[in-house]
């Protein structure tokens, strides 16, 4: 529920002080965090405080506060669109102000594809309240009934035809009571002005002219630059270091040690040796001359190749059962025909184009941060912890993010800046991560081994389905010592399997974690979707059946999947409101298949592949067309993406997120891999950790939005999961080669 109060006279919001006019705040219910993190109590945001979303000035200028971080999804534009629409404001009069980190806004952790999902109603209430108060203000001014007054594009119009601008009514409205929740009326869909349209991003011109300010662009008076050498292995620490040579570099002022983080690592600064100076170039040069002896700690045992062997062995054995229907063992023990397959996917790095950066200015008992953070409250809290300050004494300003993908939810880099500013006697300092730092000190997408087995009847339809997954859990960084995936991770495309199979068992195996594992765009859905939808395609081909027809049979009749016996967070939303709807799955899959021209006969070397996946409460199907030369060179002429995300706000940003997901998904499938050797990450830059380039990306991606009045879901992540299996299913159709491990760069796709 949202409770609104008029706080015009309190001028709480930085930047709004003394503006006069109408300011609306409201109390909102912060959503719980993803189970993977909330379970470990990482940053429960359970306090409720009033909050401010918009300010209307007497001249009619309207400022709308956006509290979520802009990293490319467009939420900095779409959330204000909701407010402006419901308020009947003129978008041309809207200025957008980025909020600092403060729990009064509710969760600001911009991940989980939930900005619109969790704040649609909040923004709507903010806009509707303002609109009704302005209508009431006009009624008061004219001495008429409010029912006779209607808001229309920044004016209140009386039924007689006279009208007053929003700005002219701001002062009167400011003295009126907030309408109670039950008295709020919302615009009918036919009257929506912005929601559902394609709106250019508010920062578009600044971006293309180079004026947009990202984290690395923050410049403070007297600011120093810092570059930090961190232990190559998580949990390692400095034994000793010699700064002598580094200090000979012109422009290097100081070399200071940051103490090593202790487990659980959470978002702590990792520790290391920082070179401080007067330019980025100077500190990078100085850092190369550091001599450091490390105690690499216990995680030196981590090697990706041996770890993979262990994961695969574990996936081959019974694990902890997290969902069970019927009796798979009984079916497997019969003489039914069975099929079993093992899949493996590697670690991935976020590799946002903007490497991590943060700027801090500590004072005696305060600290101010400027950071490209997805999670400003956590950044504030981590800085406060590091400096021993009350979090109220720390301000976190949010810049634009040069990509995030989950990495910038973890503010270890912000803590570093705060620590260094304090160590330098409270000088402002910007911490610059090199690309290599960013690649080698990440919170990696988990590698995973999966084993799937099915028994099939005479039609090749499954009568029993058993699936096992093993991966290092995100929970480890928060102190979870269970060594197994959480309900949140398992609920991402695994325990929530939507296939209609009479006997089903879902298991998870145990494994230890030796690097910081973190969520990356669509998280555990990546490996789960890859295995599940590859396996479905395998069964279809084994049965000699058309994969589309087979997958539709697997999805089964239209229903809401019964999850009552499963520990299933459903992305922290109730199943009654956001069920697992097989009808939507089937419709989305059918649409993508139709658009790719499913059923076309293609010569060998060309093929089509399909997958449909529900994640973050959104349904996305990918239909991929590939060409593979005899030598094994892969090109992707076309991808059709069908998406049902329920209500959406900015049509063009839904499309752009799906276009981007097609590149992200094919990219990770084709070339994404991070490996560890003796605990250290091997890959360091774009020569060994590859990101698809324009000549490697899908040539054409078409996006088809299914109009649906279901509640809003989200689009930042759910485009990704179906893409890798649709791609490898297409490769099978083209070549007869079944891909069970990623990336494809390690697989010979040649055929004859």
């Amino acid at each position: 529920m949202n409770r609104v109060e008029n706080v015009s006279r309190r001028s709480l919001l930085k930047g709004f002080a003394g503006m006069g006019g109408l300011v609306l705040g409201m109390q909102i219910t912060p959503e719980s965090l993803m189970s993977a993190t909330a379970k470990s109590g990482s940053h429960a945001s359970s306090r409720f405080k009033p909050n401010i979303w918009l300010a209307l000035q007497k001249n009619g200028d309207l400022t709308i506060v956006t509290h979520r971080s802009e990293m490319g999804t467009g939420c900095r534009t779409s959330l204000p669109m909701i407010v402006a629409d419901e308020m009947e404001a003129d978008w041309k009069r809207v200025a957008i102000e980025q909020a600092i980190g403060d729990e009064k806004y509710g969760s600001q952790n911009t991940d989980g594809s939930r900005s619109v999902r969790n704040f649609y109603q909040t923004m709507r209430v903010a806009g509707a309240s303002a609109r009704q108060m302005l209508e009431a203000a006009a009624a008061k001014r004219w001495g008429v009934s409010a029912e006779e007054c209607t808001a229309k594009n920044h004016f209140i119009v009386h039924e007689s035809g006279k009208k007053l601008g929003f700005g002219e009514l701001a002062e009167i409205a400011a003295d009126l009571p907030i309408p109670p929740q039950e008295k709020l009326t919302f615009k009918e869909k036919k009257d929506w002005r912005y929601v559902g349209t394609a709106m250019p991003m508010t920062d578009l011109e600044d971006i293309v002219t180079g004026k947009a300010k990202f984290g690395l662009d923050v410049e403070l008076e007297g600011m120093k630059y810092a570059s930090i050498e961190r232990c190559p292995v998580v949990g390692g620490k400095v034994i000793s270091f010699d700064p002598t040579d580094a200090l000979t570099v012109t422009g290097v002022d100081e070399v200071v040690e940051i103490p090593a983080a202790k487990p659980p690592f959470r978002y702590q600064a990792l520790g290391g040796v920082a070179v401080i100076g007067s330019s980025t170039w100077a500190v990078l040069q100085g850092r190369e001359k550091l001599r450091i002896k490390w105690d690499r700690g216990e995680n030196v045992i981590y090697n990706s190749d041996t770890y993979r062997t262990q994961l695969e062995a574990t996936a081959g054995k019974p694990g902890v059962v997290v969902r069970e229907e019927g009796d798979v063992d009984k079916v497997f023990a019969s003489d039914a025909k069975t099929h079993e397959a093992a899949y493996y996917t590697p670690h991935l790095a976020h590799a946002a184009m903007e490497p991590l950066a943060a700027t801090a200015r500590a004072k005696e008992d305060t600290c101010e941060l400027w950071a490209p953070t997805q999670n400003p409250q956590a950044a504030r809290d981590e800085a406060a912890n590091a400096l021993g300050l009350d979090k109220k004494k720390v301000i976190c300003n949010v810049t634009l993010l040069g990509g995030g993908f989950g990495r910038k939810s973890k503010p270890d880099y912000c803590a570093e800046a705060a620590i260094l500013s304090r160590k330098l006697g409270n000088l402002p300092v910007r911490v610059v991560w090199t690309r290599e730092d960013d690649m080698r000190h990440g919170y990696y997408h988990a590698c995973a081994a999966l084993n799937l087995k099915a028994a099939v009847d005479e039609n090749g339809s499954p009568t029993a389905w058993r699936q096992r997954t093993v991966f290092p859990t995100i929970g480890w960084i928060f102190g979870d010592t269970s060594n197994r995936g959480s309900a949140g991770e398992l609920g991402q495309g695994f325990s929530d399997l939507a296939f209609s199979v009479p006997n089903l068992r879902v298991e998870v195996g145990k494994t230890k974690t030796h690097v910081r594992v973190g969520w990356l765009r669509s998280v555990a859905n990546i490996y789960h979707a890859f295995a599940v939808h590859s396996f479905a395609d395998e069964l279809a081909h084994l049965a000699g059946r058309d994969p589309l027809e087979y997958m539709l049979e697997l999805i089964g009749k239209e229903r809401h999947v019964d999850m009552s016996k499963v520990e299933y967070p459903n992305y922290d939303q109730p199943l009654e409101i956001y069920p697992i709807d097989t009808g939507r799955l089937a419709k989305t899959l059918t649409l993508a298949a139709t658009k790719i021209g499913w059923g076309r006969k293609l010569p060998k070397g060309r093929g089509l592949g399909l997958a449909v996946h529900r994640s973050f409460l959104t349904y996305v199907a990918s239909a991929v067309e590939v060409e593979v030369t005899k030598a094994g060179k892969l090109t992707i002429p076309r991808i059709e993406m069908a998406v049902d995300c329920g209500l959406y706000v900015n049509r063009d940003r839904v499309i752009s997120q799906m276009e981007g997901a097609a590149v992200f998904g094919t990219g990770l499938a084709m070339m994404g891999e991070i490996t560890a050797r003796e605990g250290a990450i091997v890959e360091g830059n774009f020569m060994d950790h590859l990101i698809p380039r324009i000549n490697e990306a899908p040539i054409q991606t078409n996006v088809h939005i299914i109009e649906n009045s279901a509640p809003p879901a989200g689009v930042g992540e759910p485009g990704v999961p179906p893409v890798p299996p649709a791609l490898t299913n297409a490769i099978f159709a083209a070549t007869g080669k079944r891909v069970r491990e990623l990336p494809l760069s390690k697989v010979d796709l040649g055929w004859s």
Binding site: G210, R435, I694
Partner: protein, 151 residues
């Protein structure tokens, strides 16, 4: 002493001549539209023009630029918005936006030498610029639109 022009303004550089142009532009001149992405010339986020040609500022020492005429994203539209920037806006190319100044500088250099680039030409000229958000399809469309505008 190295003398160069940046966006039409004469500059004198007295620092370490091995300083990459990128850090000189950003730290000394405050031209932060040119972005750091990799430091080794692999991602293109730092693309600027040297005498009209696209170069990677992160691997170009200022020592090599005596007498050079450098244009950055801030100086691209000498008379307002450059046609490439305009096309980028009309096609809503950016997502996060971080790589886009470099993409735009590469595209502008391409169109300056090739007024009607084919898909292969675009691949060749733009494959040095990584976009992690995956805006390539719109980049291609915007380049073609800008080419039409220039024709």
């Amino acid at each position: 002493m190295i003398k160069l022009r940046v966006n039409g303004v004469a500059q004198r550089f007295n620092g370490d001549p091995q300083t990459p142009l990128l850090w000189y532009l950003r730290d000394a001149l405050g031209l932060t539209g040119t972005k750091y992405g990799c430091g080794v010339g692999l991602c293109g986020a730092c693309t600027v023009h040297q005498n009209g040609n696209a170069i990677r500022a992160c691997i170009t020492p200022v020592a090599n630029l005596d007498g050079a005429d450098i244009t950055t994203i801030e100086g691209l539209g000498k008379d307002g918005i450059h046609v490439v920037q305009k096309a980028w806006m009309e096609h809503d190319v950016p997502q996060c936006g971080y790589c886009q100044p470099g993409q735009i500088m590469s595209a502008a250099a391409l169109l300056a030498s090739n007024s009607k680039p084919s898909d292969d030409d675009i691949d060749r000229s733009m494959s040095g610029n990584i976009c992690r958000c995956g805006t390539y399809q719109r980049i291609r469309t915007a380049i073609k639109a800008a080419a039409e505008e220039l024709a």
